[in-house]
């Protein structure tokens, strides 16, 4: 049923979705206090698409994102990232996958406080022991409008600059998917628009894939496709 399944380290497959979940279930807690966060979710995200996942608080949208990104394990079902089945991947492989194939933008605390903006930007490269592509880096910095602020610490940047820096960092590694978890949650509407436009550009100009969790309809309006979640299921 999934012809592209379970083929790790296979970058040749281009028609495979960037990420997919098949009948994924996730529960927290035990006994009567148990909460079913994901209840048999099946969804796929096409490469080069901009998808917004919407839903009320507690609908499981953030959990879905975490499971798709390999940050959290699933109780049943399968998660594919760029054609690779995440189930049963050893910790080291999972780390490498996150480093090389996934970009993250969280609601807050995206940046390492003790490092400068430039150092934060290059951190995934440094961790991988790779040299960044200089031309690409310059392009990303320019697109993010951060040229003047690279020597500053995150605390010295505005909220919008911090979030744009996080998106830029995700872009530098050219990941298979960028997962954004309420990226505008802490921003005012004007700054939000700037960030959302930047994400849109990442898709349109740089051909990136973006999956964004949000409960803001305005933010969702920037996406190509909107998925609604209610009570742990895709409606």
């Amino acid at each position: 049923m999934w012809p592209w399944s379970a083929r790790p380290d296979d970058d040749e497959v281009t028609d495979a979705p960037a990420a997919a979940a098949v009948d994924v279930t996730k529960r927290y807690g035990r006994g009567p206090a148990a909460v079913t966060a994901l209840d048999g979710v099946t969804v796929e995200f096409a490469s080069g698409g901009y998808t917004a996942v919407m839903g009320p608080s507690g609908s499981g949208k953030s959990t879905l994102l975490h499971c798709l990104a390999g940050l959290d394990t699933v109780d049943s079902g399968t998660v594919y990232l760029g054609g690779t089945d995440l189930g049963g991947l050893p910790e080291r492989e999972l780390t490498r996958l996150r480093r090389d194939r996934v970009g993250f933008v969280f609601q807050s605390f995206n940046l390492v406080p003790v490092l400068t903006a430039r150092e934060n930007l290059l951190l995934p490269c440094r961790l991988a022991g790779r040299r960044p592509d200089r031309a690409w880096l310059a392009q990303v910095i320019d697109a993010a409008g951060l040229g003047q602020r690279l020597g500053h610490r995150p605390a010295e940047l505005s909220g919008g600059q911090q979030q744009r820096l996080a998106v830029a960092r995700a872009l530098v590694g050219r990941p298979a998917v960028i997962f954004a978890d309420e990226p505008t949650g802490n921003l005012d509407s004007g700054t939000s628009a700037g960030l959302l436009a930047f994400l849109r550009r990442a898709v349109d100009e740089f051909g990136q894939t973006v999956v964004m969790v949000t409960h803001d309809p305005v933010a969702a309006g920037y996406a190509d496709r909107v998925i609604q979640m209610v009570d742990g299921t895709v409606s």
């Binding site: 953030s62 975490h66 940050l71 959290d72 910790e91 080291r92 780390t95 490498r96 996150r98 480093r99 090389d100 993250f104 969280f106 807050s108 605390f109 995206n110 390492v112 406080p113 003790v114 490092l115 150092e119 951190l123 995934p124 440094r126 961790l127 991988a128 960092r169 978890d181 802490n186």
Partner: protein
Amino acid sequence: MIRWTVRGLAARWWRAAMTSLAAVVGVAMVSGTLMVSDTADALGVHDPNLDIVRIVMLLAGGVALLVGAFTVNLTVSVTVAQRTRELGLLRCLGADVRQVRRAVMLEGLVVGVLGSAVGLVGGYGVATALRAFINTSVFPGDLPGQSFVVSARTVLAALVVGCVVTVVSGLGPARRAGRVPPIAALRDLPRRTGGRHRIRTAIGVLCTATGIAAVPLAVATAAGPALLVGTVATLVGVRLLGPTVTTPLARIVGPPLARTGGVAGTLGWHNAVRNPERTAATATALMIGVALLTLVNVLFASTRAPMAAEHARDRADFELSAPVGDDEWGTPLSPDLERQLRELPEVATVVPVRCWTDKGSEDRLCGADPAVLSRVMDLDVVEGSVADVTAGGIGVNEASAAAGGWTIGTPLTFQGHTFTVRAIYRSLYTFSEFLISGADLDQLDTEPIALYVEGERGAVDRVVAAYPGVEVRDRDQRLGRELDQMSGAAAVYRTLTGLATLVGLFGVVNILALSIVERRREVGLLRAVGMQRRQVRTMIRAEAMTVVFVGTTLGLGLGLMYGWAAARVLEHSSMPTRFAVPVLAIALSTAVIEAAGLAAAALPARWAARIDVLRAIATE
């Protein structure tokens, strides 16, 4: 990742500094001792007293390093706990377990290098203080010169010692850091509370049991080394048992803190109790210093008591001699002085201690006639009889007899003269020379070195006035001198163990500051609902008091127990002891530690009180 570590340290520079300080004290003591001993070697000074100082200092340095290691371990652990989100973020961005682990270990290494460097400079200070101590009259030794030899070995030893301590202390936290999952960047993970290692508890029980069992064993067999092993085993055991021991103790202070500090006091106490592992770690680090300090206090009091009793055996009103430097019996006295004193009607008894000096080797044989000496001193003869010490006979003190393997009848030869041991007596603090018959003393070419006199002070002083350099010491002065020497030594040991306690207090400050950082929002919330700044300070102080109370109580208990055992073991040694509790000294040092704990809490308490309410609540 190197940058992450270094910047992290720089961002929390005061914490890194406090952590380094934990290593600094130990490194300074060790490197200072090495400098002194290298200098002594370079100058060709060979003094057994110096060896004792070296051993004591290295032991004390080791203790300080041990306590320092505990403090470093604690601080790095809490830093890791606090940076959990940051560690999670790094893992999200692709840092693997080893990279995270290495970054934390590097933190230990940097702290170690810094601590070693500062410790080395401090070591020069320690060496200077040591030399001053060695050259004082209290200590029978001499180390001339102005500068010290700082050998490559000393520098290397300081670096290795400092780094090994901090890196090893950082191993555990580094492993824990490696276990932080990436998801920790997004959610507050429930802190793992339970899951205490059963093996750790088992080893703790085993160590404590062994240590406590060593007490009756050592007392029964008078085995000092067993006691030493027992002390270390108990300290380590209690440390490993941690909360099992400390939490019940911490509960005791709840009600009094609630009475004195109100809600703020109770909250502070709760903060200490709800973090049992951390409280235990901080309190047991403090415990080590306090236990050793108490041990030293008890041991010196126990030595002092029999000393005073011993002193009652010397009944002579005055002791006359001409001291030179540290040497009480420096130069010989004029025979005229002895004769003039004998002629005085106000003087009842004059007992000379006479010395015969070999012109070639400068060797000195000193003794007094037991027949007259026993009039002013209780000689307490163990074997033989003073009456047998006639011409050709000699009396020796018990310690020398034991050391030389002499018994009644052993012939002793001194520069061609042979004497036979006829009596063995217990030496006094003021007299431990030979007992030689008056006939022999007169026959030998002897000069009086000291005179024991009974009579009126005024008359004696009038005669002595004509002999410059001669000192008259009454009984109180003689006792005072002995006790002064004791107090000097006691002060040194108190300082050394006090330093270990100080390192423990660094831990208390660290832990308070860290818990404030962790509970920013909580403090903000409390302030928002109406807690005064003063009450915030009270809360932090209550937390400090709980930790300090647990640490000092454990330390006092163990210190008294092992002090008692050590006093019992040493009862029959060359320096007999009788168990005594120096209530005043212990109460004083406890009060000082508690006050220092409160003072240590002052700075973190101020920080907590200054937390901006709005920002503390707003930050996610």
